[in-house]
């Protein structure tokens, strides 16, 4: 049974990779731009999935980290810095801020944490909007240059798409490795039963902070790519709306599933563009999908697929062990 499911999984993964590699030749530049946006948002969603799906700490501040990363890159590269130092700086400073934001998570849980992070996001948004000397206020920062890699410029849409895709691949590989390391297992222990984890010698304080900081750092990296992608940064995209949207991406895809954010970002970033004729209706449909998923399958689309696959092969009690039901708690 598990081999059967594994085969389906690997097949789907291979098909998705092939599609992503040939996609730029199938679409017009705007389509390539949207795909690059998908890759960038998926990185932010992977970060949030670490915090929410694996470590079980809700965060509504991911947009703030994407924003901080974006502004660091936009501000410095328009003042003549090369891209890579700003990339490192963006990731590291978001990691540090995320670490600090993790401290409330040590004191409060669940909905209180949601509100602390929500408040943080809104405060950061206000800073972006009001500190004109630094961020350009509502006029933003224009003409953000695109970087070059080993002397090759990736300024054109298709090379830049591959640039974003390469980052997505790197981030995915690093996360995959992380989740299989003792750290990843500690995160899951933290989500499943913090008190038991503590009694087994897991330093829950430290791992909560690390989960927050890593999620935030990936948000920052996503931001440093977002700035050269859109080449124009203003405060609007980093408002609370994006944080909620990223949260929905993770949950719709399946929080706690490695590929959940990828699928969630497809639903939240790609599908709205491909169904433009139905603009507002799409958002309504999306909202209804979120509600239906929460009623019938809180583990998201991946959880749903998991359930379908295990139901079609055997009616085993395997469901008890899926992250589905544990994540729901």
């Amino acid at each position: 049974m598990s081999r059967h499911r594994g085969a389906i999984g690997w097949g789907a993964l291979a098909a998705a990779c092939v599609f992503l590699l040939v996609a730029p030749f199938l679409f017009r530049p705007y389509g390539v731009f949207i795909l690059a946006t998908w890759a960038v948002m998926t990185i932010a969603a992977i970060g949030l999935n670490l915090t929410l799906g694996y470590a079980g700490q809700i965060s509504l501040a991911q947009a703030a980290f994407v924003g901080i990363g974006s502004y660091i890159t936009a501000y410095l590269t328009t003042r003549g810095w090369p891209f890579w130092p700003t990339y490192v700086l963006g990731g590291v400073s978001c990691f540090a801020v995320g670490w600090l934001l993790g401290y409330p998570a040590l004191r409060v849980q669940h909905h209180y944490l949601a509100f602390v992070t929500l408040a943080f996001n809104t405060v950061i948004y206000l800073v972006f909007r009001n500190e004109e000397w630094l961020t350009g206020g509502i006029y933003g920062i224009t003409n953000v240059p695109r970087p070059s890699v080993l002397g090759f410029s990736v300024a054109k849409p298709i090379p830049f798409y591959y640039f974003c895709l390469a980052h997505l691949a790197l981030v995915s590989a690093a996360t995959w490795w992380l989740l299989r390391s003792p750290w990843g297992r500690a995160f899951i222990a933290l989500r499943e039963n913090p008190i038991r984890a503590l009694s087994l010698g897991v330093d829950t304080r430290r791992y909560t902070l690390i989960a927050f900081a890593l999620g935030a750092g990936l948000g920052g990296i996503s931001g440093t790519l977002y700035a050269p992608l859109v080449q124009f940064i203003d405060p609007t995209p980093f408002a609370l709306g994006l944080s909620l949207n990223l949260l929905l991406m993770v949950v719709v895809g399946g929080s706690g599933y490695f590929f959940g954010p990828f699928l969630g970002a497809v639903v939240a970033v790609l599908l709205p563009e491909w169904t433009r004729f139905a603009q507002n209706y799409y958002l309504m449909g999306y909202a209804v999908l979120v509600m239906l998923l929460m009623v019938f399958c809180p583990s998201g689309l991946f959880g749903f697929a998991d359930r379908l696959l295990s139901a079609s092969t055997t009616r085993s009690p395997a469901e008890d062990g899926t992250p589905a039901q544990e994540a729901a708690r």
């Binding site: 209180y112 809104t122 405060v123 929460m294």
Partner: protein
């Protein structure tokens, strides 16, 4: 100077009273059913549109429209919200319901934008936009009317909760559902009542605040946020906490806008919120909640 301060204070109390109404509903839902309603702001946005539809399409006079819109809202945002969303989801825990209500908020906003329009529509005020002068200080009649109606509503609610049998049963349900059930209280029905009361409160808030802000599909975003903040500052598990939080927030907000920085007006309540959560998570007036592992 003093006159200005008094004026600001009363205006702040008036908006604060509306926040308090919304926050009370929010805490009621939390107390009886552990529901965190992220769509609470949109719940305030929507009834105004029902009233506008009743006046526009069905040509009802204002008061009849308010009654009709209110009835539809209570049915939709009270009864159906509980039956269709909260009941099937509550067994999954707090988080899925939070996310589902975020979805609900998007659905309500987008539906209003699609089917009614993205403009800001004028809404008939309850009182003329004039000022009265008391002891040399002029107050907006609208603020005073809002304040009086909110106080009356809160007083009526308190009277109901403390003075009637049903009200006391509801309090018992909120404090300890298991024991309440053992004592023969129909817990399910009591929870339904809190949802209906919440719907009634948001209808009232909607009718009070929409003349000031105009009817727009995005109205709920800020209102919902302020209601959460009011509820948390005051104490998530106390009605009087929500009242105090709401009033405090309204006043602080107004003074910040005038005396500190209108740009960072929103930031002050938020920073306040972070500080309260970090140092007194149970809120200014709240009790510490013991939750099992």
């Amino acid at each position: 100077m003093l006159a200005d301060i008094l004026q600001l204070f009363v205006a702040g109390l008036a908006t604060g009273a509306i926040y308090a109404l919304v926050a009370i509903g929010f805490t009621l839902l939390w107390q009886t059913s552990q529901t965190i309603n992220f769509a609470q702001g949109e719940f305030v946005m929507l009834p105004a549109f029902f009233v506008l539809i009743a006046m526009g399409f069905f040509k009802l006079p204002f008061w009849a429209a308010v009654l009709a819109g209110g009835a539809v809202s209570v049915l939709l945002l009270g009864y159906l919200f509980k039956k269709l969303m909260v009941d099937p989801m509550i067994r999954h825990g707090v988080l899925p319901l939070v996310i589902a209500t975020i979805g609900l908020a998007i659905l309500m906003k987008e539906s209003v934008r699609e089917f009614y329009g993205a403009d800001a529509w004028p809404f008939p005020p309850l009182a003329a936009a004039t000022n009265v002068t008391v002891f040399g200080v002029s107050f907006a009649v609208q603020s005073l009317v809002v304040l009086v109606i909110s106080i009356a509503a809160v007083a009526a609610l308190q009277l109901f909760l403390n003075g009637t049998r049903t009200g006391r049963c509801m309090q018992a349900t909120a404090q300890n559902p298991t024991v309440a059930r053992l004592l023969g209280i129909p817990v399910e029905r009591m929870i339904l009542y809190t949802f209906l009361i919440n719907a009634a409160l948001v209808v009232l808030a909607s009718i009070l605040i929409t003349p000031i802000y105009l009817a727009k599909f995005t109205n709920g975003e800020l209102l919902g946020l302020y209601a959460f903040i009011a509820a948390i500052i005051g104490g998530f598990n106390q009605i009087r906490g929500a009242i105090a939080g709401g009033l405090l927030l309204g006043v602080v907000d107004n003074f910040t806008a005038v005396y500190i920085s209108s740009q960072y007006r929103m930031a002050v309540p938020l920073v306040f919120l972070i500080v309260i959560i970090l140092f007194r998570p149970q809120g200014l007036l709240g009790r510490v909640e013991e939750r099992t592992v």
